[in-house]
Amino acid sequence: MTIKKLLTGNDACTYAAINAGARFFAGYPITPATEIVELCSELMPVYNGNFIQMEDEIASIAAVIGASLGGAKAFTATSGPGLALMSENIGFAAMAEVPCVIINVQRYGPSTGIATKFSQSDVMAVRWGSPGDHSLIVLAPSSVQDSYDLTVEAFNLSERFRTPVILLSDAALAHVREKVEIREPGELNLYQREKPSGPVNGYLPYGTLHNNVPVMSNFGDEHILRVTGLVHQESGYSSDNSQIAEELVQRLARKIDNYQEELPAPFFYGRQAADLIVVSFGISARASLEAVNTVNSEGFKAGMLELRTIWPFPRKKVKELCSGAKKILVVEANHGQVREQLISCGFPPEKLRGVNKQNAEVITPSEVLLALKEENS
């Protein structure tokens, strides 16, 4: 059944997680993600799931990883300072290949920053917060509906790729109330992690790979599971062999980076073969789209690309869609973290104009409009 409701972004994420099958939430209250913690405390017992408020964010993500290894779909929600504390264990989840979802509601930073206010400045922190080479998946919603849809997608991808998936929300989106079509479990395509089916004796947790992803059992299942953050062999026992290390670390990247067509593709709006293209994500993409529509109604040839998967950065799609543009405006409420990615895609810096804001306020349509008009004149 599909139900239409008015919900905030935070509430939409929570209902989406439940409908995607999440039955475990561990978290620590932090503005502006707190409402997710509160709603989970009410809903999890109703759905026969578990809610636990841990002693800090380190313990929260640890409990989520533990629950996932026990077979549950599990998630947590946090914001900048909490994300920083979670980083080591997010790396553990990447290394040990544990599916889990982290909803990161961005607030103004660095450090404690302004707890209640908005920013989009965690783009690099979500990608590189944890040391070591690894890949992971980060999705960015731009509306309350998107918060719902991409949270469902986040669980599917985490189960499919056995990796942490981070949903990059923000303080503005978290609290704005909009109409959402809530598709219930029967209407959703839900992906469940693959379970081993072969003989119990001699089972190797990291021995059978499907599309580079191991077919792993859960703790308590008859196939004995061995999990460690150390470099490990197929058996799950640790190893310091350099060949094993190289193969493992390269596979961790390959298993995601080589399958990017399965990740949410960017949306393209406005004129094809546009002279001016705006690249944006999250709530800034909403301001951008309004501005692009306005200038196009005045005869401009402008297009708008909304990133939905932020990491791995969709280099191929972005190059394909933006290569014809004379100028690319990158609209983001940070110092230019996405713009850096476009430079690494090979776009010359002089072709890229950053429309940035760092005053804890949301970027508005008129600010994007102004930049577009300056570029067109």
Partner: protein, 184 residues
Amino acid sequence: MKNTWRTILSGSGGQGMGMAGKILAEAAFMQGFNTAQSQTYGAGARGDLSQSGIIISSEDILFPLIEKPDLLVILNNKSYGHFAPILNSNCNGTILIYDQDYAPPPKGKINSPSFGFTVVNKAREILSEKAACMVALGILTRLWIPLDKTNVSQAIQETFPGKTGLQNIKCFEEGLKLAENYPL
């Protein structure tokens, strides 16, 4: 033909800004409009300046927050400082609705068309200052916003179950009455 109404309610934390915004959005939703509602988050909602923004539209809402309101409801003096850039300019078409006892507009500074009502005192008479926004909703519904009053009443009832709901509906209805004979 107007098809989008952007309203901001501004006052002190405790006057029910957030709740009223939510009710207006729910009523618009019941009536099949697209809607987006936002509100002050954090310390402001606990006594300082508090605001709620509601967009009601028969079209898709691209940007869900309000840059310039069509309707600005002000219930305390402090709000004038915040909205001075909008209210002082001639050309943006914002309509100002204010509490005539507690938030009279500063003389000679407001260029927007403005309309004063007894909002806060009316709410105190019936229930308490906490219901001030319900009176304001009545005024908005009667004069400016294309919502059916039964939908607003229903949204109030769903938000405040039981007796509190009835008192809040009474405040809303008083707002409708205040606006009824108002010379626009």
